[in-house]
Amino acid sequence: MSETNENKTSKPGKMQVNVIQTRSVGVRRKRMIGAVLKNLLLAILSIIWLAPIFWLLVSAFNKDPGINYAHFFPSKGWTIANFFNLFKSNSAVMYLRWFFNTLIIAAFTCVISTIFVLMVSYAFACCRFEGRAGLMRLTMVINMFPGVLSMIAVYFIMKSIGLTESHIGMIVVYSAGSGLGYLIVKGYMDTIPASLREAAKLEGASEFDVFMQIIFPLCRPIVVYQIIASFLIPWGDFVFAKLMLGHDVKNYTIAIGLYGMLSKENLPRYFSQFCAGGILISIPISILFVIMQKYYVEGVTSGSTKG
């Protein structure tokens, strides 16, 4: 046996193959180690990122209504009662009502501000008028100021026209200035060849026709991006809502309501429900995202190359 082996291995051709094989084994091993390390790093990072969300999820099923952070997993057993209790409104916690308040505000804001953004973008990208460059520069400068700076001023303006403590006021606040966030959409519109518009105009199309029949269909990915972005702002906003919405529990949005559940007196009773509420608010966004996902990724990246 050993002889035949020696014979075989002593063949020059086989020898070469072996060398190549050992080399490729070495390379493969290196690659393997590299891949393992990379994936290990990714795994660690994903654990770090996902752990809080996972904790929120398991805490939402905690039988203990209050907080206990000595355990990651519920120590007193599991229950789904938190979700049901959340929907049983009482005078201080009206989750379902808050949910729909927020949904209504977010839906209207989403529609209005998307329209605003599209209009502004179209004007800046496709129309040529005097002062266009100046206006664009001005909007850039205005965008540099954080929105919260104007918060108190906005509050008093809204109060003077009687729109505080109302959902209409909130919709106005969220959508009024949204046209300023036109940059990404405009960048996308810039990529659409001007010849398309010119051709349509030669055929006698008005600006509105051009917008509706040429620009809008071509912009679909970025419109989707804009819809999701506009929806998320009111959905997650706390500061403006807290300032503007007043103190009627019935009018609260989710963010204010959930915050109230963490007050000193409420914490021992509502903590698990708070977690359940936190899980539930992600559902509409997830649905919106899943529906529009295939456009979304395209939209986020495609506007960024030219702007």
Binding site: G66, A70, A92, E265
Partner: protein, 424 residues
């Protein structure tokens, strides 16, 4: 044409309003019988002077039971003064944050709102509280405990209606580990807890709690008229107290809890056999300890060979009236209604808050509560919370460092903390 119509409409509204006023006045006169004819009863004159709808907003605590209870009281209030047309809206605002919200925009704040008494000075200075100079339905000063009236008084003038007298901290303990005698002294508690393998939790990193140690040794920290704090924690027994805190913590049985969440967690886990906390966590702790739940005044501690009774801050929840209200008179009547003896009794039953009203506090139901008994014991060693904003952070840092034992130069640490606290 249009203008004329508007003028006509306005004239008509005014007439109706005037008539409505007459009407309600007459009705009341009738129901009260002849007696009310010429009396100077302020309530009756208020009713007589009222016409049209009285719009009021009320902010009460965001706790479910408190909201329910306040709504019940409002409904009862409307029923009691049925001759007047009320439009009362109830909102939620935690007492601990009321000041910030009210001062954001006083004119938009509620007509009647509840707040914690430590906010009263700033609220008065900002003109957000109506002075209580007359009592429509009861005498506020006579009906409430002296401490509560003090808490509602600024510069000798009463500015609010005391609603509760329970906002303080005291000792919660596990009766299976400590006897009622044990909890009188921290040293005994340490021995017992050690034997049982348990810990005693105290929130050293929170200036509100830490105050109790230094105040216990007779040291001062309060807000002066100049607007700055005065504090002498770095003198006299101060270094001894600081050393005592370090020693208690270093020994290991007395442990620093970081917040309410960890206090409750520690008890749930069985790590802590006693915690210093407040009435808001009482029900959570009762649930955990069951029949072994105990509440008592804070224990005595030893510092520099001396024994001191641990003190505490004591504050009340108060109900205030916004002077910017369109119906200050009715707002005051409503505030009285929300804080009168019956309201405080039912508030204790339904919300579990300890009454400031002397009669309500003396009722057997209230006296039977372990929490209230502990609070009233502790109140003897408690001071109202009159301290400026610069107190909190330096004192919290001091407490945290002492509990961690990272202080080598106690006197220097105290000097630094006092300098921060008394900074103008």
């Amino acid at each position: 044409m249009k203008k004329r119509v508007i003028a006509l409409l306005m004239a008509m509204t005014m007439c109706t309003a005037a008539l409505a006023g007459c009407d309600s006045g007459k009705n009341n006169g009738g129901s009260e019988g002849g007696a009310s004819g010429t009396t100077a009863d302020p309530l009756q004159s208020l009713i007589d002077a009222t016409s049209g709808t009285v719009k009021l907003t009320v902010w009460a605590s965001d706790v479910t039971e408190a909201q329910d209870h306040t709504q019940e009281l409002i409904d009862a209030f409307k029923a009691q003064y049925s001759s007047v047309n009320f439009d009362i809206t109830l909102g939620a605002e935690s007492e601990s944050t009321a000041k910030d919200t009210v001062l954001t925009d006083i004119t938009a704040a509620a007509d009647v709102y509840s707040f914690a008494d430590d906010q009263i000075t700033e609220l008065v200075n900002a003109g957000a509280l109506q002075a209580v100079s007359i009592g429509y339905t009861y005498d506020v000063k006579a009906a409430n405990a002296a401490g509560a009236v003090d808490a509602a008084t600024v510069n000798g003038q009463l500015y609010a209606y005391p609603m509760t007298a329970d906002n303080t901290y005291y000792l919660f303990y596990d009766k299976s580990v400590f006897s009622e005698d044990d909890v009188k002294s921290l040293d005994t508690m340490v021995t017992k807890a050690k034997a049982a393998g348990k810990k005693i939790g105290f929130e050293f990193g929170n200036a509100w709690y830490l105050y109790g140690w230094f105040a216990g040794a007779g040291l001062d920290a309060y807000l002066t008229d100049s607007g700055a704090n005065t504090c002498n924690w770095n003198t006299g027994a101060g270094p001894d107290v600081a050393k005592a805190i370090m020693d208690y913590c270093a020994e290991g049985t007395v442990a620093n809890i970081t917040d309410d969440g960890s206090a409750v967690t520690g008890v749930k886990e069985g790590t802590y056999a006693a915690v210093v906390n407040g009435i808001w966590n009482s029900s959570a702790l009762q649930e955990e300890w069951g029949a072994n739940f105990g509440a008592a005044k804070l224990p005595e501690f030893t510092a520099g060979g001396q024994t001191y009774q641990m003190n505490s801050y004591f504050s009340c929840k108060l109900v205030g009236v916004n002077p910017h209200s369109e119906n200050v008179g009715w707002a005051m009547v409503l505030a009285e209604y929300l804080t009168n003896e019956d309201a405080q009794k039912s508030r204790f039953e339904k919300v579990g808050w300890g009454p400031s009203n002397s009669n309500a506090a003396a009722s057997p139901e209230v006296q039977a509560s372990a929490d209230i008994a502990a609070i009233s014991e502790q109140t003897k060693f408690a001071q109202p919370q009159r301290i400026g904003g610069n107190f909190w952070d330096p004192a919290a840092t001091l407490g945290k460092n002492l509990s961690e034992g990272t202080v080598s130069d106690i006197q220097g640490m105290l000097d630094e903390a006092v300098a921060g606290i008394t900074a103008p």
